[in-house]
């Protein structure tokens, strides 16, 4: 008798905790559900509808939006551009990030200044960076073309050539991102015990060997994690396109998120924009899943 009442008491106690916990979580959860989970489901639904300007209600068309996208050369061009932009930015900014981290991890006088100099672009809005770099890249009068002119070379006008627009935007982004990625590598480096380096030194290992055989493998978990951040960041970047090129010349700089924005808010084709959103969601999900699959198989612990 006493025992059942204890059990019951235990049960109602647990119920009380459950209720209290959910009550505490409810406000945050309500916002996350409304503005992260629900919109994901809503894009799935809208992506299967036709919804253009002037249509009062979405009209269900199944997978037709996707079929149509697949047949559009522009869609594939945008995908190629996004892929190229990620490729041109992620690896170089990671490599540079490691290099900068190694420098600021040394006992150098003025290392605080160095860290500040490398990191400050990360606290600047992309819009401000793009407004500044626009003048660096501006045709003829811009800093780059002036520099080329003073060297007796032909001006390039990098933003209006199909070949140079993405590399130029990438260079600007590497400059912004490298310092940000640096701080993760720096904390990774600080977790490597100095004893290993001392042992390597006693064995007479050269700096390059030490870097390849010790630093890089021990940084592998950090690299994995940073590559997810870097890839996600580069995929969702759009501010610079709005300011600098609007996709020009001839869509050579249209990236996926900019394409979504353009379809949804300039051409008001929200059905197509939603299908594109779903494609982007799948890419984002894949990128973050990569991290989990690989961490299980290859990791070096200290």
């Amino acid at each position: 008798m006493a025992r059942t009442s204890n059990v019951r008491k235990g049960l109602s106690k647990q119920l009380e905790i459950d209720l209290k916990a959910w009550l505490f979580i409810a406000p945050a959860l309500a916002f996350i559900l409304t503005f992260t989970v629900y919109p994901i489901l809503r894009s799935l639904w809208l992506g299967m509808n036709q919804l253009e300007m002037g249509m009062p209600k979405p009209y269900f068309v199944g997978f037709q939006n996707y079929v149509q996208l697949a047949s559009e050369p522009l869609f594939w061009k945008v995908m190629r551009n996004s892929f190229a932009f990620s490729l041109l930015t992620v690896l170089p900014s990671m490599a540079l990030g490691i290099g900068l981290a190694i420098i600021v991890n040394k006992k150098i006088r003025g290392v605080g200044f160095l860290r500040t100099a490398y990191f400050y672009p990360a606290v600047m809005p992309m819009i401000a960076i793009a407004s500044t770099w626009m003048f660096i890249y501006m045709a003829q009068y811009g800093m780059l073309d002036q520099l080329l002119a003073s060297l007796g070379l032909k001006s390039l006008n990098v933003l209006s050539s199909k070949k140079t627009v993405l590399p130029a935007l990438s260079l600007m982004y590497i400059w912004k991102e490298a310092g940000y990625l640096m701080i993760f590598f720096l904390s990774g480096l600080q977790n490597i015990s100095t004893e290993i380096y001392e042992a390597a030194k006693i064995d007479g290992a050269r700096p390059w060997t030490t870097f390849r055989k010790i630093t890089l493998p021990l940084l592998a978990p950090t690299m994995l994690f940073v590559s997810t951040i870097a890839l996600t960041n580069s995929l969702k970047l759009v501010d610079h396109i709005v300011i600098m090129t609007e996709g020009a010349p001839n869509n050579a700089s249209t990236l996926l998120l900019y394409y979504i924005y353009q379809q949804g808010f300039i051409y008001f084709d929200q059905g197509k924009a939603s299908s594109l959103t779903v494609i982007m969601l799948v890419i984002m999900l894949t990128v973050s899943m990569l991290q989990f699959i690989k961490t299980d198989t290859k990791i070096y612990y200290n």
Binding site: I25, L33, I103, K106, A117, V123, F225, T232, G264
Partner: protein
């Protein structure tokens, strides 16, 4: 011995630092010198405040400042309340559905808000909140990053403390206020720096949501000015406008460099 070893990285480091600082130096130099036809790295046309004054008078940056400050402060305040409550529950209670909650919060870590502009804008127009400051803030009131950061910190606070407080007759909210908040100041500062920087710099969502100067933020104001006809070739004015919107944050960063960098390291989970 040690000094010699570091001389090459030091030289390289300072050269790179110089290269990294070129855009900022040029930006500030140009913002404060007389407009000239030729662009040069080191301004050569004399100091002036004209560009700043011109931009301030011709673009409602004062209004944009007020809007941005309001958005940044309110967003972070609400994030703190919702985040603290959720983090407290996740750190101290064992309850049914815990895994589901983690999963939902985790989705926000993987899917950045920017990707969801289309459906979120529709939600906003269902709620009749387009072109409002509340509409800019609303999607960010629940912050997964904040919840995880605070939970991690709360976990390090021994439960014995709050058990003792319960015996003394403290309510849960009192426990949070008197035990958890004071011992987690560093986490709140990190959360604040990351949140404020993010929302000060955020562009795409405020651009889409706002339609009138009444509700515009600094970034949107700068973008509209930089793209306007009167700004073409007027780099002195655009630099002045850019300077106006970046200087509070960049100045704060130069002063509290260490604190910022440590906070952004924890933002990796974002």
């Amino acid at each position: 011995m040690k000094k010699n070893e570091n001389i090459i990285p030091a030289i390289l480091g300072f050269i790179l630092a110089f290269v990294w600082l070129v855009p900022l130096v040029w930006l500030i130099g140009t913002a404060f010198s007389k407009a000239s036809f030729a662009m040069s790295l080191v301004p050569n046309s004399g100091f002036t405040l004209d560009n700043i004054i011109y931009v301030w008078q011709n673009v409602p940056f004062g209004k944009y400042y007020m809007n941005t400050i309001l958005i940044v402060v309110v967003t972070f305040s609400v994030q703190c309340v919702t985040g603290t409550l959720a983090a407290y529950a996740l750190a101290t209670m064992k309850f049914r559905g815990e895994k589901l909650v983690f999963l939902i919060i985790f989705i926000q870590i993987i899917i950045p808000n920017d990707v969801l502009i289309i459906p979120n804008y529709r939600t906003l127009s269902d709620l009749k909140l387009t072109d409002t400051k509340l509409g800019i803030m609303l999607p960010f009131f629940g912050s997964a990053f904040g919840i995880f950061l605070l939970r991690q910190t709360f976990k390090t606070i021994p439960l014995a403390l709050s058990e003792a407080a319960i015996i003394d007759g403290c309510s849960t909210l009192q426990i949070i206020r008197n035990i958890y908040l004071p011992s987690s100041k560093a986490a709140y500062i990190s959360f604040g720096l990351v949140s404020v920087s993010y929302h000060w710099n955020n562009f795409l969502w405020p651009l889409i949501v706002t339609n009138s100067p009444e509700n515009r933020t600094l970034t949107v104001g700068l973008a509209l000015f930089a793209k306007s006809k009167e700004a073409v070739m007027q780099w002195a004015n655009v630099c002045a406008a850019t300077f106006i919107i970046i200087f509070p944050l960049v100045l704060a960063f130069f002063i509290f460099q260490k604190k910022f960098i440590n906070s952004f390291v924890s933002s990796g989970i974002k």
